[in-house]
Amino acid sequence: MRDLIGAEWRKIWTGRAWWAVAAAAVLMCVMADAGFVQQDADKNPGGGSTAEITSTLVQGWFMIELAAAVVALLAVTREFGNGAISRSVLLSGGRARLLTAKLLAVVGSGAVFALAAGALAAVSPWLFLAGHDRQPEWTATTTWTLLGVMLTIVVGAVWGALLGLLIRQQVASILVLLVSTWLVGEGLLRLAPAIGRLTIDEAMASVYRGGNENLLPIPWALLVLAVWIGAGTTVARTLFLRRDLP
């Protein structure tokens, strides 16, 4: 099993897609943090407490979750696209074994993204506040925000892989991921908060303390995330074991 996980791990990091996606996500986070600092400076021209902006700057790195999800999704769907999934099944000792190895490798890749994002998020308050002659105030809330960001990145990677396994087609999978991330969760939260906060994206937002009053309390959000991942894994597994391969 170790060899199989190693091979799946190697497939994830093969090619240039991962670093292009990661670089784009880092750029988005940097731009978001720069915007947060500017907003805060406009709101508090005299300075004041920096505890809130410190947590906000850390929270801004949640967007790496999208990169982790896309990288996992690409790794899965490109195998369906080029037919390599059939060879993976033939050489891995069975579909269930392969699926387990893929998901474990994806958890690992999510952890890599989470650690990198965690490191960048942790230093970002010092970097972004330095130019404004302000010192960050690291509080317990900041720590929990950082842990929440890192957890959602790992969950996002698994979710991306599950979407890829369910949909199989690369472009369609990415569209579903982006539309669900940017439109469905947020839209439902505005139109029907009771339903919207149960979407996986809004549950993630709760975990990284997204700041919307309609979001679930964190323990409930963690439960919702577990249900989404559990249900997604069950459906993906069932279909992967039954459906014909390309």
Partner: protein, 242 residues
């Protein structure tokens, strides 16, 4: 001795379309078997069902007495090169083979061995996308040979090979069979199959023939080509000519 492959009543339907209809045949161990049929005759679909990549609508297929998914050590016993199964997204030929070697727990040295065997050792650093069709066929064959399997299942391995490559392939498959391995090879190139196959299976959605090449050609009195067209649907042949 257990047959290497046993296919019984295999059927595959896609809605209204029947791709393979009630096909049964066996492949004896240590033989080179040519699987013949026109395009769309169901050769690849039959092989995919045999390998568990597609679910049969009816019937069963076993390798060494087990469905592929339940065959102990399947990845080490069966080498496969089938149309539609591409390489990984790895950049070079060697990197791709290393991924597959790792997948089935083989040492890296095995990659160099098969690259040498298929004549790609000096090109293994090149990008897969820059490979010619013939090189891709050799690469696919290298992947199939990685685990030094006792059964090889090859789908149109001669496609894209030049005359030298075709001769090389024929000699390679013959030498593998001489070592006691079983080879099931589908092909359009009847003359090639005639030269290397011990047994012949002819498919045209249904089974048209399964037996020795000698019986089919009456010990060489008739050509494989003429027997193929006699047995494969003659009306389809007429349609093609029209």
């Amino acid at each position: 001795m257990t047959d290497a492959i046993d296919i019984t009543g295999l059927t595959k339907r896609y809605g209204e379309l029947t791709a393979v209809d009630d096909v049964s045949f066996t492949v004896r161990s240590g033989r080179v078997v040519g699987l013949l049929g026109r395009n769309g005759a169901g050769k690849t679909t039959t092989l995919r069902m045999l390998l568990g990549l597609a679910r049969p609508t009816a019937g069963s297929a076993t390798i060494f007495g087990h469905p592929y998914a339940q065959l102990p050590g399947a990845a080490h016993r069966v080498g496969v090169s089938i149309d539609g199964i591409g390489p990984s997204a790895a950049a070079s030929g060697r990197a791709d083979l290393r991924i597959w070697a790792q997948t089935c727990g083989l040492p890296r040295t095995r990659v160099d061995d098969v690259l040498e065997q298929v004549g790609l050792a000096s090109d293994a650093h090149r990008r897969l996308r820059d490979y010619s069709q013939g090189m891709r066929q050799r690469h696919a064959l290298a992947t199939a040979l990685l685990a030094d399997p006792e059964l090889l299942i090859l789908d149109e391995p001669a496609n894209g090979l030049d005359p030298d490559g075709i001769r090389w392939l024929r000699e390679l498959l013959r030498s593998l069979a001489d070592e006691g391995r079983t080879v099931l090879v589908s092909s359009h190139i009847l003359a090639e199959v005639e030269q290397m196959a011990d047994d012949i299976v002819i498919l045209q959605k249904t089974l048209r023939y399964s037996g020795t090449a000698a019986e089919l050609t009456r010990n060489g009195e008739l050509s494989l080509e003429s027997r193929f067209f006699d047995l494969a649907d003659p009306t389809v042949k007429e349609d093609v000519r029209a």
